[in-house]
Symmetry: C2
Subunit: 349 residues, 2 copies
């Protein structure tokens, strides 16, 4: 619930790619434009200022959780998924990260370019429905807008989701002594999209991990309960951005063991060929959990028993030292894992 | 709750402007693409198939109402409003039309073109905040995406809203004998946007009516209670489209008295100059209500006592004859008010 410390200065006159990349420039835009104005110090706006994956609304003895995501991925179809699947999973996962694994329903806004192929739209929509079935939810209502030729590049989906939970989990909840768990291999989504976009011939073994995580997280919460102190999905900006945000908002340090971070051989090779740090690449079917030591074994077992958590691993620990920083233990010493603006990866989700 | 009767056939291979215009082509796209697939006959999908302004979710002894709208209006600033105000009002009004005048919160997805002016974005965001204050709500969470230059024309806002009500009002609830009320003058929004877009020099007295209607509708519901049988806001496709949809879904006829429909002199003149039927022009701050005769006086008085309802008027009545049709009483006989695809008015909202 703490406001992000030291918002970066904001002096841009025009929107840049980095403003959508999930890193410091995006947070600066949000804090200085979207959260500016007369209500900036209104305590009732604390929920928006928390900049969590969604917003929690107390309702009776429960919390309603509301979230939204626009998806502009290019190309719209890629190994392992497509825009339709992504649009459902992005929102379902934001709800799950706040503990709201029971999804009451989704909304879908579709913005289309005149001339867009109806057959492709049907495929995307079939994918939306399949992902909804996996997540145990449905699209309850929607909106359709058409822009002229050249006014939008094909199609944009914007989705909102409503979930419900008795306990809200925050990305700001890390505590010193917690163990950091990742639910599986990293970097698969971003590398699969880049591979498809640039036709790199890497696609063979590279597949996006895009999946709805609410079932997996429900299992983890059943095993770990209140010992799961914090969750976040490492989407845009990857593990680097997510852990830096968690550390900063929680006022703790994180020590990450580089060699413990699970990756497929295909992703490792692709990242090397492309010269991209896999820790900065978007995931769409993974979560980072901060778990109290006494529950780590139970949570790991629950994750690994689920098809989406087989490769779950302990990758770090939370410290009281170095608050707001993430240190990378490389095996040859430590260095700070600095969050940067990932400008070379536009339209990855 | 009835599925729209006789969905028009759908044979298009590509998206056309009419698919976003609020008329028969848009409904055909929605019914044959978005509502197709394995869940098309699932009773649990009845809420989506109702094609109402939003979706109602039973929750305890109340209903949560969820809705979404994308806004692609061009130009983004126009007399009487802008994209920011429109994005809030569009969603608040959809909630109000279902009886959910208490808005728990909104989400905001912003899709930006690289190079978009930050100063304009700040103005739009100030307008979002002002409209939220008028509606007694706030943006709880959001998302920001950036597309490259030429990949989206400036900016698109996609908003979702969550409201709560003890009684849901449906657009399908018209009953024979009901009186049809409009809450004020029509066609102001669409004509103001067109005037600004084409620099027609009409703008002097032409201003969009874009406004949050939840306060007005709360007053009407307090006065009319269960005697208000149906509500709908005549946005894309205007009064013609909204009344045809209400008549068709309710299985009733509507007799509309043309001379009773309130319009400003400026709107009347602009529609004539542009050669556009004002009944087909979008409104963003008006509602159509179907009211039982015994409550008409009380509802009209409540509407007229509110600043946004001063020009409220009775414009028609509901009949058991001619189910699914809207007849226009021109003063020189009647003719059918046929819903057409409003292709000449793209990006009006």
């Amino acid at each position: 619930m703490t406001r992000h410390k030291d918002p970066p200065p904001f002096s841009d006159a025009h929107v840049r790619q980095a403003h959508g990349a999930g890193g410091p420039a995006m947070r600066a835009l949000i804090e200085s434009v979207f959260l500016a104005g007369p209500s900036a110090d209104d305590p009732a706006d604390a929920e928006a200022r928390a900049l969590d994956d969604g917003a929690a609304i107390p309702f009776g003895d429960q919390f309603l959780v509301l979230t939204t995501d626009a998806h502009v991925v290019h190309p719209v179809e890629f190994p392992g998924g497509d825009l339709g699947r992504l649009s459902v999973c992005g929102v379902v996962n934001d709800l799950a990260m706040m503990g709201a694994c029971d999804v009451l329903g989704l909304t879908s806004s579709v913005i289309l370019e005149e001339g867009f192929e109806i057959s492709l739209l049907r495929r995307l929509q079939a994918s939306v429905q399949a992902a909804c079935r996996e997540a145990g939810t449905r699209i309850l209502t929607g909106d359709t807008k058409v822009m002229g030729r050249g006014e939008v590049d094909g199609v944009v989906f914007s989705t909102a989701g409503l979930g419900v939970t008795r306990r809200v989990v925050r990305d700001a909840g890390l505590r010193p002594g917690d163990t950091v768990i990742v639910t599986g291999t990293i970097a698969d989504h971003g590398l699969a999209v880049l591979g498809a976009r640039h036709d790199l011939g890497l696609q063979g073994d590279l597949r996006s991990d895009v999946a709805p995580l609410n079932g997996l997280i429900r299992a983890a919460l059943a095993a770990g309960g209140g010992h799961i102190h914090a969750m976040k999905d490492p989407t845009r900006g990857g593990v680097t951005s997510a852990l830096n945000e968690m550390a900063s908002k929680s006022g703790v340090g994180v020590m990450l063991t580089e060699a413990a971070v699970p990756m497929t051989a295909a992703a490792r090779a692709a990242a090397e060929i492309l010269g991209i740090d896999p820790l900065m690449v978007a995931n769409e079917g993974k979560a980072l959990l901060g778990v109290a030591p006494e529950a780590v074994d139970a949570v790991l077992a629950a994750l690994r028993a689920h098809p989406l958590g087989r490769a779950a691993a302990v990758i770090g620990r939370v410290t009281a030292d170095e608050p707001g920083r993430v240190l990378l233990d490389t095996g040859f010493g430590t260095r700070r894992l600095v969050e940067r603006d990932a400008t070379p990866l536009p339209r990855i989700c």
